[in-house]
Amino acid sequence: MAQLICEDLSLGYEGKAILKDLNFQVEAGDYLCVVGENGSGKSTLMKTILGLRAPLGGRVLTGDGLKRTEIGYLPQQTAIQRDFPASVWEVVLSGCQGRRGLRPFYGRAEKALAAENIAKMGLTPLTKRCFRELAGGQQQRVLLARALCATGKMLLLDEPVSGLDPQVTGEMYDLIARLNGEDGITVIMISHDIDAALRYGSHILRVGGAVFFGTKEEYLTAAASGFGKGGDR
């Protein structure tokens, strides 16, 4: 069974659908890139997958041992975070919140997990630094470490390289590719960078205009024929 299945999904605001009858599924180990213009419903789709908002129709299912709350989320940064006093350690540790349930304090297991993910992202020397004083790429790696604390199975990345310079962008993409290739973590990435999507992704979901879902190879074939015969699989 697939890890994530979206069935006849309709998304939109106040009854007006932006996206209709979306069908796709994500298997363990896939690297799905969601591409499309601004306003085409990429972020709405992501929030629906995470359960932050209800779909207008259809449903989102998880399977293969993945729980809905076990999806690690890398959101776009908010205005609050730009003046929030928090150390790298505090931010990463807060990723263990979901697995704590109602128990109030973090135990040894959570602290070890946080330390491990900080090390994995190469942030150990920055552990005590203030989050808001870090460079953009470092901040993204902190948030990625936090997402890894919430999941060992699936990451949802919302424009993970927006605002980063080209070199840091490349490093970020390589890091995500390593998590996907070496650790076998399923990745769903929202991007408007179609070149990167084709370079790193295994599957492409294009929303807005002609909806397309398929493997990278199918996308390239469909693109060559101008999406004439493409469409939903």
Partner: protein
């Protein structure tokens, strides 16, 4: 100097002065804890709105001739906190407008009711002391002191128990919700705690000055420290110290308690602002 100590010693003989100090310290502690969250969540205006609601509720309690006004004021303020948070999320009248409406409305109705029904000879004096606290901290009765102590203990305990959740929900609400944390529930919890703190703090500084007690220590601490835990601890320490100093100054100098405490808070904020500008200053 000796004369000053003697004078203080003399004052401490009176139980009402000791009550005032105990309650003042507890209120300062409670109000500082959630300050950081309120400032960062852009909730500070909710605190301000609720304090006006508390004024209106107090006016109602006064004309009903209740011996202990706090329970009624508490219930009304908590109810309004819940209401404000609900309307802020999905309503035709959006958040800030709803808060403005409720807060100005309850100020006006409160003053109107006090004028129409008050049996007191000195209405403007009553209103002034409700708004600015003047000496009400020195007139606390023992039941009110106990109520303050119990509520403070509850506020501190809830804050410590939910510290990690409050951090998660404040730092990144979407992430917390995606991970299965009931963010709306915690926002509600935060609003209810604010309401309790405001009702408590009315005794100390009066309803117009409460926001200062919540906001200033947090802003001062954020100038000095860089992690959530150290900011929270620093803001609690600053708040208690400022309130103690303010109360002692006001007792000795005969100045109004509330505004003296707020004045001390402002001076400390200015100091922290300056220290924060020194490159490589206090860091952790």
């Amino acid at each position: 100097m000796d004369a000053l100590w003697e004078k203080l010693f003399l004052y401490f003989q009176y139980p009402f002065v000791r009550y005032a100090l105990i309650v003042g310290v507890l209120i300062a502690l409670c109000s500082s804890l959630l300050g950081v969250t309120l400032v960062l969540k852009r909730f500070s205006f909710i605190g301000d709105g609720l304090s006006h609601v508390a004024f209106g509720a107090l006016a109602v309690a006064t004309i009903l001739d209740m011996s202990n006004e706090m329970p009624l004021v508490l219930v009304i303020t908590v109810a309004c906190a819940v209401l404000l948070l609900r309307t802020g999320q999905n309503a035709k009248i959006k958040g800030d407008a709803a808060i403005a409406m409720i807060s100005v409305g309850s100020l006006a109705i409160g003053y109107l009711l006090m004028n129409l029904f008050s049996k007191s000879a000195n209405i403007s004096g009553d209103v002034c002391s409700t708004l600015f606290g003047s000496t009400s901290i020195l007139t606390l009765t023992l039941p009110v002191v106990w109520l303050c102590i119990i509520l403070s203990v509850i506020v501190v305990a809830v804050f410590i128990l939910f510290y990690n959740k409050i951090f998660a929900v404040t730092f990144d609400e979407d992430f917390a919700r995606a991970a299965g944390t009931k963010a709306n529930g915690y926002n509600l919890l935060i609003a209810v705690i604010i309401a309790v703190i405001i009702v408590l703090a009315m005794n100390l500084v009066g309803s117009l000055l409460i926001s200062a007690l919540v906001i200033f220590p947090a802003l001062s601490a954020m100038r000095l420290f860089k992690s959530f835990r150290s900011v929270t601890i620093c803001s609690a320490v600053l708040s208690v110290a400022c309130s103690l100093l303010g109360m002692v100054v006001s007792i000795v100098g005969g100045t109004p308690v509330g505004s003296t405490i707020v004045a001390v808070d402002i001076v400390v904020f200015a100091l922290c602002y300056l220290i924060g500008m020194i490159p490589g200053g206090v860091r952790s």
